[in-house]
């Protein structure tokens, strides 16, 4: 074997300051993954022996059997070098240990490892397992029809099937354990607004029990599934399912350090197990098969959901502010502070229900009365400071076509400031009412102008 690769790796690591993972190396040099692992090992040995200046850091992939929480499991984790022996000692049987990556920087968390492989894998996405040893005859790319079907099915089962966000915590040693407790403490100091956010994020931990039968369980957090707009849209059935399943919502910080779910970067098996997931979830069973591999990909999902959720919340918040009736303020210029919305996590159905309720009310009121219309009237009054204020407002009045007497009925008088700074709220309300009036009145006849002159 020629030793040019050592120079190559040296160039990547020292000159370009890259993180060299075995997967990236195998894709870059076009070698089998096992060869890449050996290359890295060899390189590391050589550099360590030379004892040259720049320190190198390495991460290792350790896999083995151990007993956690009283159940046997097969654990696979990426660990930093300094934690390697500790993790190995914890395992009953160590099945494999190999170099995962070599880099100059001391990594604080595992994100750069994923980032490194991302582009390389993306380029080779059709054949990223070209150099890998994992083979599965059943894993063939789906036809586009199947893909579509799978996507539809994916929408229906609880989108609240959260996967642990523990990309941070899966790396048992890449993140030190005391910091696990720290987030809980520091998060508590923040405002309640952020407490709700952290609640969502402090989610489930996956406990994996992989025997030969490979039974795996997931735990879901109720708050997460509840707050999830998708699961709300697809209804109560989804929520029921979520509630039925064993809800082991453990706080991720404390639990993760003990349960340490596995990481395996074996992306090939993930398509297969994904299909399994969808089938299983349609049955109501306590044990779920969840993809255990490629948890880095999975950690994406809760984050996506989180960000969507936050967006929804902020939009809802905005909408709520607009809806709130403006207090009768005589001061045109002051922009009133709308009171903070207390319940941040209002799911969308609530709002929809509210809207419907209001619209129902209005409809019924419309039908009973005589025809109502909205008239722009200006109302002059003296405000607190003694100045005259004229406000134009839409007043809904009832009238009938036979008599052309408008009876002023200031039941729904909304005063909108001339500047219309928060007129948006009013407009929306008015628009709703206008809509209702327009739908209630069948033939809208313009009132004759003579009515103004006749009646005095």
């Amino acid at each position: 074997m020629d030793y040019l690769y050592l120079d190559n790796i040296d160039e990547f690591v020292n000159d370009q300051n890259k993180i060299v993972t075995y997967k990236w190396l195998s894709l870059t040099l076009g070698v089998h993954v096992n060869t890449a692992k050996q290359m890295l090992y060899h390189y590391l040995q050589q550099k360590r022996n030379e004892g040259s200046g720049t320190p190198l850091h390495a991460t290792y992939l350790v896999s083995g059997k151990c007993v956690e929480n009283g159940s046997k499991c097969h654990k696979v984790s990426v660990v930093r070098e300094d934690k390697l022996n500790a993790v190995k000692a914890k395992m009953d049987v160590t099945i494999s240990v190999h170099v995962y990556s070599v880099q100059r920087a001391e990594l604080k968390d595992s994100s750069p490892l994923y980032n490194t492989d991302y582009d390389a894998v993306k380029e080779n996405i059709k054949n990223c397992n070209k150099y890998s040893t994992i083979r599965c005859a059943a894993a063939v790319p789906m036809s586009s029809a199947e893909v579509q079907r799978a996507q539809e099915m994916a929408l229906v089962p609880p989108a609240g099937k959260e996967i642990s966000k523990t990309g941070l915590n899966e790396n048992t040693s890449a993140t030190p354990k005391p910091s696990a407790k720290q987030p809980a403490g520091i998060m508590g100091m923040f405002a309640s607004k952020n407490a709700s956010k952290s609640q969502e994020s402090s989610k489930e931990v996956k406990t994996e029990q992989k025997d030969d039968s490979s039974l795996v369980e997931t735990s879901k957090s109720k708050t997460a599934s509840k707050a999830n707009p998708m699961s709300n849209l697809f209804g109560k059935s989804a929520q029921k399912k979520a509630d039925e399943k064993p809800n082991k919502s453990i706080k991720e910080e404390t639990a993760a350090s003990s349960t340490a779910p596995a990481i395996m970067k074996q992306s090939q098996t993930s398509p297969k197990s994904k299909i399994d997931i969808k089938d299983e979830q349609s049955k109501v069973s306590s044990a779920l098969k969840v993809e255990s591999k490629d948890t880095r990909n999975k950690t994406k999902r809760p984050e996506v959901v989180d960000s969507d959720d936050e967006k929804m919340e902020s939009q809802q918040k905005k909408r709520r502010r607009i809806k709130k009736p403006q207090p009768d303020s005589s001061d045109d210029e002051v922009v009133p502070d709308s009171p903070p919305v207390p319940n941040v996590q209002t799911p969308s159905p609530k709002k929809q229900v509210k809207r419907e309720h209001v619209s129902h009310q209005e409809e019924s009121s419309e039908v009973k009365r005589r025809k109502r219309r909205r008239v722009l009237k200006s109302h002059t009054f003296v405000d607190e400071e003694g100045s005259f204020v004229t406000e134009k407002g839409y007043v809904s009045e009832s009238y009938s076509e036979s008599e052309e007497e408008p009876e002023p009925n200031s039941q729904a008088k909304d005063s909108s400031s001339l500047k219309q700074s928060f007129g948006k709220r009013e407009e929306e309300k008015k628009e709703k009412r206008e809509k209702k009036t327009s739908t209630a009145n069948k033939p809208t006849k313009q009132p004759s102008i003579m009515g103004f002159f006749q009646k005095k």
Binding site: K108, P112, F190, K300
Partner: protein, 216 residues
């Protein structure tokens, strides 16, 4: 996706949006990697399809967002030369400066999604570089703080002082002390050239104070 040219109002806005988003992520990441704040306040989030660390602290986030909100119009008009994140020690002497040099090409247009995914790829690479920058940088002393500076033109500063983009968030001219770093060592981190940020490319480099080594 429609082709946008420089003349479109949207062009500047799109570029500014992309850049400001990237700057926000980069700033949070630098805070995490350089350990300015305890790692407990950071949370993993996703950007450009990779995990990044973002802080959860509301005031810190607000500060960064407000700053970038004010910087955005400058970028839109192509008046911002560089955005600098200065890390200072307890005595407010700059220890490190992360300089983002921005320049935009005068005559280019953006079009099609492939270009934006290319930009995403480049930004991803930038983020990766920030993550490993501690290999080339020395450790900072404890108790560091940070501040954000923008290098721009005189006219723009006048404007910024006149029109407060965000209320109660004034920008002041930076002290000489904060800007000038003694015995600075320049460490280039990443250069990125793309069709929307071309000509003189977008650079990220770090200057580090040598003096610190002597003290330590």
């Amino acid at each position: 996706m429609a082709t946008l040219t420089r003349q479109d109002l949207n062009f500047g806005q799109v570029v500014a949006d992309i850049l400001c988003e990237f700057l926000e992520v980069a700033i949070h990441l630098i805070l995490y990697v350089r350990e300015i704040y305890p790692s407990g306040i950071f949370q993993k989030r996703k950007k450009y399809n990779v995990p990044v660390q973002m802080s959860c602290h509301p005031e810190l986030n607000q500060y960064i967002q407000d700053t970038l909100h004010c910087v955005k119009p400058l970028i839109q008009k192509n008046e911002a030369e560089k955005v600098v994140m200065v890390i200072m020690d307890k005595e407010h002497h700059p220890v490190e400066r992360f300089v983002f040099e921005i320049s935009q090409p005068p005559l280019l247009s953006i079009s099609s999604e492939t270009l934006l995914s290319h930009v995403e790829q480049l930004l991803r690479a930038m983020i990766l570089k920030i993550s490993v920058c501690d290999a080339v940088l020395d450790n900072n002393p404890p108790g560091c703080t940070f501040t954000l500076l923008v290098h721009t033109r005189e006219a723009a500063t006048r404007n910024m002082e006149k029109v407060q983009v965000i209320k109660d968030f004034p920008w002041i001219v930076a002290d000489e002390q904060e800007v000038h770093m003694e015995e600075a060592k320049l460490i280039p981190l990443k250069t990125m050239t793309s069709d929307i940020l071309k000509v003189s490319h977008s650079q990220l480099f770090c200057t580090e104070s040598q003096k610190l080594n002597e003290i330590l």
